[in-house]
Amino acid sequence: MKKTILEMREITKYIFDAFGHALRGSTVRILDSVDFDVKEAEVHVLIGENGAGKSTLMKILGGIIPPDGGTMKLDGKEISFSGPRESLHHGIGFIHQELNLCLNLDVAQNIFLGREIGKKLFIDKKNMYARSSEMLAKLGFDIDPHTLVRDLSTAQQQIIEIVKVLSYDCRIIIMDEPTASLTSTEIEKLFEIIKELQKKGISIIYISHRFEELKEIGDRITVLRDGKYIGTVPIEEFDYDQIINMMVGRKLGAMYQCHHVPTTEKVLEVKNLKIASHTKPIDLYVNKGEVVGLSGLVGSGRTELAKSIFGSRTYFGGTIRYDGQVIKKVHPSQLIAKGLVYLSEDRKLEGLVLEMPIAHNITLASLPRLFPKTNIHRGKERTVALKGVRDLNIISNSLDQLCNTLSGGNQQKVVLAKWLLTEPKVLILDEPTRGIDVNAKSEIYRIIDRLASEGVGILMISSELPEIIGMSDRVYVMRNGTISAELTEKEDFDQEKILSYTLG
């Protein structure tokens, strides 16, 4: 029986801001009393859907954000971290999905950044490069430490991260989706390293979406769902259906009301669209009055597809037809004028001017239509904005309230109001309910349903399966930058099925 070295008990975290502090007065739990432990020299796989809380849990372990409740014990001693460095000194290394390297420095400089070998100011280059080679050779790699990290492949960059983490004498290494951008030979190489590390007594926490990998290297699998601990299964008892069940086992509530009836008149049609030079072409269409769900993992190319249609991104061949016309090389503003709009994934970055009042934000996209003669009539602007605020039930003090003081749900409704004011015929919604509370969610679903009844074609991108299933008339699933499945019958909408197309 292997010894347990790390125990996390009843870890709780409320929804937090960019600095990891809990939002004031918030009751939404991202992590709800989650238990997690790591044994010596094991590969412990952590899985769950997007937003299940895997990353948050690991960020707490990595010292990046503090927990709001619960305890962590390392070797039986209680620990808490004030920052990532402290976690590292306790022997916990974190390899992020977005690698944390300086691409413009060479390998040795990256490995020894902040701990350069040498007296006082000057670096003992000879020694440092020799040590780096040695460390790389130990893992069986022949990479010249003088190479710039930028010139390495992603897999090699990952190896540099691993070497860097190991040089701190780490006993636990967190790997967040390490294979996400690796080729299959690179993945094999990575697995060899992981097994090598295991032999040296190092434990690995491995986050991944790819089932075939888990069976190959995992020892135990822990499933999280909606911020809750669901269970831990030893790899010998691995059962595909059971794991999927654990990941999705959610009940669909009465949140989703579908009164709209889709037509068969195509309003948006995409043929052979390639979002990158190496991806397979995409075919897709949206009818009038239809809600089409676009499911898939974050990073599967959903947003890129939407932006390609919206004209804010260059794509690699294919035709887009909107309202009977082929649209080619158009600026988003022309499409907005014609009634095709895109509600972005990140409302704070791309959806709102946070420092501007609600009224200005709502009318922002419709100014050319409302005031064709350039000067803005503030009175009319307020009337129009007020109508939007009432229609969508945006809760605010006044039309002059700045958008950065609104809650997430109300911010999202402001963005929605802005786009509805442009009187769209096709609305592309990218994660319309991300990070907003349940009430606001159901209100947004009602708005979507109402729009569809009015004949608007809706393409809804979402990571949340219940939402996709509850709202859509038809579902596309995306994987690796292309559409991997189309489900046309409502009876086929089922979490297990969609998830299996998503994961491949």
Binding site: R85, N100, G114, L121, I123, S277
Partner: protein
């Protein structure tokens, strides 16, 4: 399909060769030793400013205080000289003034979080104002012979200015290549988050880089006053754009993280050559600024275009 990779240094080398061939075949007197030494001497002011500027741009900053600060430090130094202070003491005070103002820039950027272009522009303007105020807008001149020798004299046939420039360029590249500080400067330009995660103080880097830039500007100002035997309160003006241009032509990326001091030196020499050529051709100096400005814009635009394209192409699904 892999796009053809054009390295920056190749562009720089080609530029030099082309400029030299064109110049020496069309302009009589261009290739004489005297003229070339003269070019290097005039370029030394730009090159010294570019030493500090290179570091500043590598950490994604910009130093717009050259104009004012250059005149201000030279003015302090010049006034002290005229009052009979010993040359080394006056120079040290002048250099210290530049360094202090530079560190102040670093403080504003790092601790107060004010964008570098505002901070440095304001500090430069204040410096320029002080330079005017110190001598009520008048020029000063008539410095001691030994001081003018530093600007115009030669040792073994090479202008003293060139030795000073060499010391600055070599010193800066040693810092950048051999010391921790140099690595941190590059690292900060590459990925600031990583630097912070490694527990390195980014404040220290900011203070050092802007302070060093101030120091270089002060030295350039002092050397210029030696070369001209005059300090005029606005004589720093042309060097702002030239210092940035030298870095950009030398391949320092305005997006940070990339650049070498000796390439910036070559950039400075290219500007020197270009000004010399235009002078020999009898073209009015006003055109020269337009020319330098266009070169900067074109190079930066190409740079950013390439970078954006590389990001888009590297996306994997």
């Amino acid at each position: 399909m892999k796009p053809v990779k054009i390295e920056k240094k190749h562009v720089v080398y080609t530029l030099i060769v082309v400029v030299f061939i064109v110049a020496s075949s069309f302009i009589p007197g261009f290739l004489s030793i005297r003229n070339i030494m003269n070019i290097v001497r005039q370029s030394s002011i730009i090159a010294i400013c570019a030493c500090g500027m290179t570091m500043v741009i590598i950490i994604k900053g910009i130093d717009l205080s050259v104009t004012g600060m250059l005149s201000f430090c030279a003015m302090i130094n010049g006034l002290l000289l005229l009052q009979g202070w010993p040359i080394p003491v006056a120079m040290i005070i002048g250099l210290a003034a530049g360094t202090v103002l530079g560190v102040f820039n670093g403080f504003m950027v790092d601790t107060l979080g004010i964008p570098a272009f505002i901070t440095t522009l304001v500090v430069g303007n204040v410096g320029g104002g002080l330079a005017l105020l110190l001598n009520e807008g008048r020029s000063i001149g008539g410095f001691p012979d030994a001081y003018v020798f530093m600007g115009n004299g030669t040792i073994l046939g090479v202008p003293v200015s060139n030795y000073i420039m060499a010391i600055f360029v070599i010193g800066t590249s040693v810092i950048m290549a051999k010391t921790r500080l140099g690595v941190y400067v590059y690292a900060m330009g590459g990925n600031e988050t990583v630097v912070k995660q490694q527990g390195i103080s980014t404040s220290m880097i900011n203070y050092f880089v802007y302070g060093f830039s101030g120091f270089c500007i002060a030295m350039a100002g002092i050397l210029l006053s030696g070369q001209l035997d005059t300090v005029h309160p606005t004589q720093g003006e042309p060097y702002q754009l030239d210092a940035i241009a030298a870095c950009v032509i030398g391949g320092v990326s305005m997006l940070g993280g990339e650049g070498k001091v000796y390439f910036s030196l070559i950039g400075a020499l290219i500007i020197g050559v270009q000004r010399n050529i235009l002078n020999l051709l009898g073209i009015h100096p006003f055109y020269q600024n337009i020319f330098v400005g266009i070169i900067i814009i074109v190079i930066v635009a190409i740079n950013i275009f390439k970078k954006n394209r590389a990001i888009e192409l590297s996306k994997v699904f």
